[in-house]
C-alpha cells in the first residue's frame, strides 16, 4: 500500500479549511481581525484593570492551594519565630505558612494584594477618563452602569479578601463591618447575626467570606467584565474628534496585528509592574499584626485605600444619634449615615449620572465622539467636585497617620476634614468651571488671531504688539486673517506645534532629530484612498 506523502507546509491550511467546513468561522474571524480600534493613551487605562484582574485570578488560584478558611484555634508552629506558640485561627496560621513556609508564597501573596490595589486604582482612573470625556453618553449608559457596579463589586472582593488572613488588622476591619451592619435600622441585628452566624465574630464568617471571595464575587466580576467588554466591542470604541473623525466612523488601527501586539505587550508590562511591586514593596505584613483578638488594636488601623473614603466619612461624622422614643426606645446610631446611607447615595448618583445629564441637556443623540473636558465645563466641574469630595474623605481616612507624621493635632485634622468636606467641593466646582471657560476662550482666541510668535513689533505710534501667526490663510477679513471653526480637538498654541497634530520633534524621552525617509516598499505598495474619502493629512482637510 502506498503511503500518501504528508505535506507539512500545507497542513495548517488544510486544518483551517477543515475547521471552516465545520464551523463556518472565516467570515466572523475576518470581521474580528479587521475590527478597527482608535488609538489614544487614555483608552488603555481600562486595560490595566482588566489585566490586573487576570493576574488576580492567576495568583489567587495559587493562594487557595495553601489557605485554610477555618476559624478553629491552633497553636502556631511554623518558622516565623516571633509568633511561635501563639494561639490563633487556622486561617491566620495558614496565611503565615503561605508566607513563610511555602516557597515563593510570599511573593505570590504580595502580588495578589498589589494586583487588587491596582485593579481598584485602574477602575477609578478609567472611570475618571470616561467621565471627563463624556464617553458615558448615549449609547453607552449601560456600560457606565456596569463599570460603576464593577467598582462596588471589586470593593466587596477587596474587603472579603482583606478579611481572610484573620490577622489583627483585618479582624478590626471585620469588627467595624459588623458594626456597620448592626447600625441599619430595624433589621441590623438580624442581618449581622445571619451573616456572622450569631454574635460577632462567630465561627463561620471566614469560611463564608472565603466562598464569596473565591467563587461568588469573582464569578460576578467575570460576568460583568465580559458584558462590559462585549458592549465595547459591539458599540465600538469612542474616539477623539479630529481630522477625518466623525460620529459615524472609527479611525484607528485594525485589531491585527499591530493593535493586538500592543495589547499583549501591555498585558506583560502590567504583569511585570505587579511582579516588581509584589517583590520589592512589602504589603500587608500580617505577621506583625498578630492574630485577631477582640482586645488588640494598632494605632493607625486603616482599610485598603479604596475603602478609606468610608473610613474617612465615618471619622468626620459628628456624633448625631437619633433616638426614637417608642416603647422601650429605638436608636439610629451615627455610624449608619456615613457607612450605609452615603454609599447608597453614591451608588445611585454615579449609576444614574448619564441619565441625569441627558435629561438636563435634553440630549437624545448618540455620541461616539469624545468631548475635551474644557468643552463641557459643567460636567468637568461636577466631576472635580466629586473627586475633591472623595479625596477629602480618603485623606480623612488616614488623618491619624497624617496628624502623626506631619505633627498636626488629630482633632484639628478631623475638623479640617469636616469643614473641608463642605467647603472644598463647591470651591472645586467654581474653580474648575472658570478654568474650563478660560481654556475655551484661549482656544477661540488662537483660532481667531493665531499663535503667539514671541516677536514683538513696535508700531509707528510707539505701541508694542506681539505678532501672531494666523492658523489659516486670509479670507478677506478686515484684519487680514480668517477665523477657523473649533472642532473639539487640540488647538496648536506654540509655533513648534504648527503644521502637525503632535509635537514636531519626535521621540518619547529625548528628541529624534532625523526625519524618517519616505518609505516605499515593494511588499507594501502605496495605498490610494477610496475616492469618496479625504486622506488623513493636515488639519485643513477635516470635514
Amino acid at each position: 500500500m502506498k503511503r500518501r506523502k504528508f505535506d507539512l507546509a500545507a497542513a495548517p491550511g488544510k486544518a483551517a479549511v477543515g475547521v471552516d467546513d465545520r464551523f463556518q468561522v472565516s467570515t466572523p474571524l475576518r470581521k474580528l481581525l479587521n475590527k478597527v480600534f482608535p488609538d489614544h493613551w487614555s483608552f488603555l487605562l481600562g486595560e490595566i484593570a482588566l489585566f490586573s484582574f487576570v493576574v488576580l485570578l492567576l495568583t489567587g488560584v495559587f493562594l487557595t492551594f495553601f489557605y485554610e478558611p477555618a476559624m478553629t484555634e491552633v497553636v502556631y508552629d511554623g518558622s516565623y519565630a516571633p509568633l511561635k506558640g501563639t494561639p490563633m485561627s487556622a486561617a491566620y496560621a495558614s496565611s503565615l505558612d503561605l508566607s513563610f513556609d511555602v516557597r515563593g508564597g510570599l511573593v505570590m501573596r504580595q502580588m495578589h494584594h498589589w494586583a487588587a490595589l491596582l485593579f481598584m486604582a485602574a477602575i477609578v482612573v478609567h472611570m475618571l477618563r470616561v467621565f471627563f470625556t463624556g464617553a458615558f453618553r448615549k449609547p453607552r449608559e449601560t456600560n457606565w452602569i456596569i463599570g460603576s457596579l464593577l467598582f462596588w463589586v471589586g470593593f466587596l472582593a477587596g474587603f472579603t479578601g482583606y478579611s481572610l488572613p484573620d490577622d489583627g488588622l483585618s479582624g478590626t476591619g471585620l469588627r467595624i463591618a459588623s458594626a456597620i451592619m448592626l447600625s441599619i435600622p430595624v433589621i441590623g441585628t438580624w442581618v449581622t447575626s445571619s451573616i456572622f452566624g450569631g454574635e460577632f465574630p462567630g465561627e463561620i464568617i471566614i469560611s463564608r467570606f472565603f466562598i464569596a471571595h473565591v467563587l461568588l464575587i469573582p464569578g460576578l466580576l467575570l460576568a460583568l467584565i465580559s458584558v462590559h467588554l462585549g458592549l465595547v466591542f459591539k458599540q465600538k470604541h469612542t474616539q477623539w474628534p479630529g481630522p477625518g473623525r466623525t460620529n459615524n466612523n472609527v479611525v484607528g488601527e485594525r485589531m491585527f496585528p499591530r493593535y493586538a501586539l500592543k495589547q499583549g505587550g501591555f498585558f506583560m508590562v502590567v504583569f511585570g509592574v505587579i511582579a516588581l511591586m509584589g517583590g520589592l514593596f512589602q504589603i500587608n505584613p500580617i505577621w506583625l499584626f498578630g492574630p485577631y483578638e477582640a482586645w488588640v488594636v494598632s494605632a493607625a488601623s486603616q482599610p485598603d485605600w479604596y475603602v478609606m473614603f468610608l473610613d474617612g466619612s465615618t471619622r468626620l461624622m459628628p456624633a448625631w444619634q437619633i433616638n426614637i422614643p417608642i416603647g422601650d426606645g429605638y436608636v439610629i446610631p451615627p455610624l449608619f449615615w456615613p457607612t450605609v446611607v452615603l454609599p447608597g447615595i453614591l451608588v445611585g448618583l454615579s449609576t444614574m449620572y448619564p441619565f441625569l445629564e441627558a435629561r438636563h441637556l435634553k440630549d437624545r443623540k448618540n455620541h461616539n465622539l469624545l468631548q475635551r473636558p474644557r468643552d463641557a465645563p459643567a460636567r468637568t466641574a461636577v466631576g472635580a467636585m466629586a473627586v475633591s469630595f472623595y479625596v477629602v474623605l480618603t485623606l480623612s481616612g488616614g488623618n491619624d497617620v497624617i496628624a502623626d507624621k506631619f505633627m498636626i493635632s488629630l482633632n484639628a485634622m478631623t475638623w479640617a476634614g469636616r469643614i473641608g468636606l463642605l467647603v472644598i467641593p463647591p470651591l472645586a466646582y467654581y474653580v474648575t468651571y472658570r478654568l474650563c471657560l478660560g481654556l475655551q476662550q484661549h482656544d477661540r482666541e488662537v483660532l481667531a488671531h493665531g499663535v503667539e510668535t514671541g516677536i514683538i513689533r513696535r508700531m509707528p505710534d510707539g505701541r508694542f504688539v506681539e505678532v501672531h501667526q494666523p492658523l489659516s490663510a486670509s479670507n478677506g477679513h478686515a484684519d487680514g486673517h480668517g477665523e477657523l471653526e473649533y472642532v473639539g480637538w487640540v488647538v496648536p498654541k506654540k509655533m513648534n506645534r504648527l503644521g502637525a497634530l503632535g509635537p514636531a520633534i519626535r521621540g518619547f524621552f529625548y528628541p529624534i532629530e532625523k526625519p524618517v525617509e519616505a518609505p516605499v516598499s515593494p511588499g507594501h505598495p502605496p495605498v490610494e484612498p477610496r475616492p469618496e474619502r479625504a486622506e488623513i493629512g493636515s488639519g485643513d482637510s477635516r470635514r
Binding site: R30, N247, N249, L261, K262, G265, V297, S301, E517
Partner: protein, 362 residues
C-alpha cells in the same frame, strides 16, 4: 450581531475579483477590510527591509526577548537555590521575595517591551476607517421583529385567557420563594438568642457568683498590680473568657490618680453609679460604642481614652462620656469590688449595652 452585518459592496464599488491574476496578498487584505466597511487609508512601513534601522530594531527586540530568558532563568535559579527559609534578624532569606519579584518583573517587562517594540516600531503604521453604521437603523427589521413578538404574544393568548397568566404567576411565585427559602432560612439566625446582644462574659455575676477580672494569661488581678496612672486589659474569669468567643467582654481596668478618682466618683454619683468604682479603680468596656474597635489609647494625664479606628475620645473621669469624634454613647462601666482573697471581681454584668449601637438597644 446586528441588522447590518452584510454590506458586501459599499456604495458604487464592485467587489474585487479575488481570482484576478496579479493580485497581491495585500490587495486581498484590503478587499477583506472593505467588505467589513473598513478603508485602509494609510499604510506605511516604518522601516525598510534590509536597512540599518531595521537591523537595529530587530536587535533591540531580540535583546528584550533574550533578557526575558535570562531573567526567567535567574528566577528559576533563585527559586531553587536561594536560601529562603525564615531566620530571625538580617540575612539572605530576606532577599528571597525581592529577588523573585525583581527577576519575574524584569522577565515580564522585557517580554512586554519586546512585543511592544515589535508592534510599535517594526510593523507598518496604518490608519483605517471603519463605518459605525450606527445611525442606520433598519426600520423594516425593527418592524418585523416587533410584529413577530406581538404575534407570539397573541398566539399565546394571555390577553384573551387571563386565567392562564394569573395562574402561571400564582404558580411560579412560590417556586421562586422555594429557591430563596433554603438560602435565607439556612442563614437566618435569631440575634437575641440567650439575650446575647445585651450580655457579656460577666453575665454570670448576676447569679450572686462573682466573676473575677483576669489578665490575658488567666491570672486574677490584685489592686496592687496596677500602679497609679496605669491601666490593664482584663477579661471575665470564665472558661474562654480570654478569647474571641467573648469578643464584647474585654475591659479596661484603670487606676486613677487621687484627684481624678474623686472627679470620677462624683461623676459616677451623678448618674447613679455611685458604687461602681472601687477605691481609685474604675473599669470600662474596652469595646468602643461606635464601631466596636478596642478603644484603648489611655492618656493618663488627660484621662482621655482614644479609639484608634475613628478617633472617638472618651473622658474617663466623666463616666467615659464621648467628648470628640463620632461616638455618641459613653463607654459602659463595670461595677467592681475586691473579694475576700484580695482579687478584683465584677459585682454584676455591665448595666448598659456593650459594643456598637443598634436599632433595638433600649
Amino acid at each position: 450581531m446586528s441588522t447590518h452585518t452584510e454590506h458586501p459592496a459599499p456604495q458604487g464599488r464592485e467587489p474585487l475579483d479575488l481570482n484576478a491574476p496579479g493580485l497581491t496578498r495585500f490587495d486581498v487584505v484590503r478587499e477583506g477590510a472593505r467588505r467589513d466597511d473598513i478603508e485602509i487609508v494609510h499604510y506605511e512601513p516604518q522601516v525598510l527591509p534590509g536597512t540599518k534601522a531595521e537591523r537595529r530594531l530587530t536587535r533591540v527586540v531580540a535583546g528584550f526577548f533574550l533578557l526575558t530568558g535570562l531573567a526567567a532563568t535567574a528566577f528559576l535559579a533563585i527559586y531553587i537555590w536561594w536560601p529562603w527559609e525564615y531566620a530571625p534578624g538580617r540575612g539572605g532569606d530576606k532577599f528571597y521575595t525581592p529577588l523573585l519579584g525583581a527577576t519575574l518583573g524584569v522577565a515580564l517587562l522585557a517580554v512586554g517591551f519586546g512585543i511592544l517594540t515589535w508592534g510599535k516600531k517594526l510593523l507598518p503604521k496604518e490608519v483605517s476607517i471603519q463605518d459605525r453604521h450606527e445611525g442606520v437603523v433598519d426600520e423594516d427589521s425593527r418592524n418585523i421583529t416587533g410584529q413577530t413578538m406581538l404575534y407570539m404574544a397573541d398566539e399565546l393568548g394571555v390577553k384573551r385567557r387571563p386565567l392562564l397568566g394569573i395562574s402561571l404567576l400564582a404558580g411560579l411565585a412560590p417556586v421562586a420563594a422555594v429557591a430563596a427559602a433554603p438560602l435565607v432560612g439556612g442563614l437566618i439566625s435569631q440575634p437575641h438568642k440567650n439575650n446575647q446582644m445585651f450580655t457579656t462574659g460577666f453575665a454570670a455575676a448576676e447569679g450572686g457568683q462573682r466573676i473575677r477580672l483576669v489578665r490575658e494569661d488567666g491570672r486574677p488581678v490584685r489592686p496592687a498590680d496596677i500602679s497609679s496612672g496605669g491601666q490593664l486589659t482584663v477579661f471575665p474569669g470564665i472558661e474562654h473568657g480570654v478569647s474571641n468567643k467573648h469578643a464584647d467582654s474585654p475591659t479596661l481596668l484603670i487606676h486613677l490618680r487621687d484627684t481624678d478618682a474623686d472627679n470620677s466618683r462624683r461623676a459616677n454619683e451623678r448618674v447613679g453609679h455611685g458604687d461602681y468604682m472601687w477605691g481609685n479603680y474604675a473599669a470600662f468596656s474596652k469595646i468602643c460604642t461606635h464601631a466596636g474597635c478596642p478603644a484603648s489609647l489611655f492618656e493618663q494625664q488627660t484621662n482621655r481614652l482614644l479609639c484608634p479606628c475613628h478617633q472617638s475620645q472618651f473622658l474617663i473621669t466623666d463616666n467615659a462620656r464621648p467628648v470628640f469624634g463620632p461616638a455618641s454613647r459613653r463607654l459602659p462601666q463595670l461595677p467592681i469590688e475586691v473579694d475576700s482573697e484580695g482579687f478584683f471581681v465584677a459585682k454584676s454584668d455591665y448595666t448598659e449595652t456593650v459594643g456598637p449601637d443598634f436599632w433595638e438597644r433600649p
